[in-house]
Symmetry: C2
Subunit: 388 residues, 2 copies
């Protein structure tokens, strides 16, 4: 029996008794939980525009709930634009937040009414000028992601001096430079990590003021963490730290604040139910047991790469005796191992055919899953508690 | 203009002039090249049964060509079984080579006529006994994959003494134990790496002979390498080394040999055409340039994880001046970087909108691609030179 307000209670060995319920693995998603998370964020970040990062989970019913709750949306592609608009979002609520866009995709977004775009280099700025004339543009700064569990490489952003030059160039190209964005890495545990980039952003604002350009938009990105195996600080701590940083570095000239949460909104709205396909040992000498699930790194749990995100796994045998367990996926690819270097402690009673629930998996799971690796179908989503 | 016998000649900046040609990225696949590779293997491995590893590329037209060429098939799932049977393969030509199988999938395979199954632990052996009574079964040994560019973890296989016990148990469960398999890691460069496992397999054969069980099947797996950026030894070197090992360790009692090539058959049959979406620098001081393609780690190039597989990338500017280049994919995920720690040298003239060709990408690409990460569609396949 599924609780229609929250999925946290789902454990045990029997699949929920819903007609035509798909076989495992699947994601049970409760869009109402995402809306609750949205409201939590809105309270922790007053006077801040919230752009939900659609890439975290683009499920249309979840997007609709968030649009109804008042969310804006950070989109990475034309497909994500289409989803948002089809679910009631206004194009003015969208920010095209991918720094890497094809010219034709910029044109498409512009034709559909999107007017806010990010860039981090001259090439992209000129593409925007040509394909989205007059649009509001903001520049992404390189930021350190030290302290993040799913850290960012140097893939996105540019140095502050380059940002100043590019934002200064924008008006002559017919664009409207509005501000700065950055991202300190996903599942960022340390609330103080936003401060250095906020300080850099303030310097960019000041440098542009000297050449007569008034920026007023500061997007401090996402990265707000979710409690997986370990608890994390409450979201209010992040809100306070960031707002104090902004006050300190911007003083009276406080910019319009924006955040781009994905994981924080969607993760707790979902639980993946999977099946134990096999339990084995490699030799008589080894203590380590291997548990193979019907989901793995290529079936939606891509963020277990390098054992980065350690999900909480619930079984019907919790509380019984445990042993060290490597956990792997069902494909013939030996990279498809989720946890081995730091094994889990799972119940020794766990058997082939048992179900397990992988908690807080509503973000960064379904869309990552491979289209057909080893012939396995992508992770299905099953929405509960929402009759939309 | 596409050459209809081979895709190697595809370079340049203009997309092929085929009506309704899809936008990039896409894989151009020539199934005839896969058949050629199959015949090369057959010559290098006389008296050896070749089970094409369908997971490398399950494109139906490629499977049909291989079935016509006489190939058998190593399948990882029921979906792969369906593809093979729909393309003319006989169930007797299939080996269910995934050690991790659901009971219902074993039943399905058995119902469709599959009679050869692998296992590597007692749990799986008992599942086979229950769901595929009387089937031929072989046990996978743990093997070292030192020397492989896409190495295997300890995910698959068991120790030789455990293999002996399990194969000895099989007849009492109503199964027919036939032999041993192992895998030395994909893109294995060193032909001598098969020898230790062949020696272990011979010991397992001898141990079972002592209890009255005559094994006669030895599957030495795949792993035969493809020349990406660096040349590799000819396939005949692998054939000779392996056959000499078998003679040395098995003497007169030579088993029926089998191999499970995937990469070697399919890689050279395909080329991925991609578009440069953006070229940028992160700061004025840095020499490293970033080139962003419309394909990345989540769009099909999963094997660039850890920069393991380094593909050859052809541009229309080859031969002109180059500079160090990081190469990344188009998603907002900063893990979606293919080459950065060891940058590529790409032409400085390369510009946004140019096409590049990524060679020998017919294996382990399309099915890996995410179903919709960031809203990007999975990698499309376009078959050429084959009117099937």
């Amino acid at each position: 029996m599924i609780n229609d307000t929250n999925v946290d209670g789902l454990t045990g060995t029997d699949p929920p008794s819903i007609p035509d319920f798909p076989t495992t693995p699947y994601l049970l998603l409760d869009p109402k939980v995402a809306a609750t998370q949205y409201h939590r964020l809105a309270r922790a970040f007053p006077d801040t525009k919230i752009y939900y990062a659609v890439k975290a989970n683009p499920e249309p019913r979840l997007i609709r709930r968030l649009a109804e709750a008042g969310s804006s949306f950070d989109v990475a592609s034309t497909a994500e634009i289409d989803i948002c608009l089809s679910q009631g979002a206004d194009p003015q609520m969208l920010s095209y937040g991918n720094t890497i866009k094809k010219a034709k995709d910029i044109r498409y977004a512009y034709q559909r009414g999107v007017r806010m775009f990010v860039f981090d280099c001259e090439d992209e700025l000129r593409k925007l000028a040509e394909n989205a004339p007059g649009a509001q543009v903001f520049c992404r700064l390189l930021a350190s992601s030290a302290g993040a569990q799913w850290p960012l490489s140097r893939k996105f952003g540019c140095s502050p001096d380059m940002a100043v030059d590019l934002l200064a160039l924008a008006p002559s190209l017919g664009l409207d430079p509005i501000g700065i964005s950055f991202h300190v890495g996903s599942q960022q545990l340390d609330p103080s990590r936003w401060d250095p980039s906020i300080a850099e952003a303030a310097q960019v604002f000041q440098a542009l003021q000297k050449v007569g350009i008034e920026l007023d938009f500061l997007d401090v990105g996402g990265g707000f963490p979710v409690g997986y195996l370990s608890p994390v600080l409450p979201i209010d701590d992040y809100g306070q730290a960031i707002q104090q940083s902004v006050s300190r570095h911007f003083g009276e000239a406080k910019p319009r604040l924006a955040i781009e949460p994905g994981r924080y909104v969607a993760a707790e709205a979902g639980v993946i139910r999977a099946e134990v396909v096999l339990v084995s040992r490699k030799s008589y000498e080894e203590d380590l047991r291997w548990v193979y699930l019907d989901i793995g790194r290529f079936g939606g749990l891509a963020e277990t790469e390098g054992e980065a995100i350690r999900y909480r796994i619930v079984t019907a045998h919790d509380g019984e005796a445990t042993g060290p367990t490597a956990i792997a996926g069902p494909t013939c690819d030996s990279v498809d191992v989720m946890y081995k270097d730091t094994p889990y402690e799972l119940p020794l009673a766990l058997r082939t055919g048992d179900y397990v629930d992988i908690l807080n998996t509503g973000a960064y799971t379904t869309t990552y899953s491979s289209v057909a690796f080893n012939g396995f179908a992508p992770l299905a989503t099953f929405c509960i508690g929402d009759n939309a």
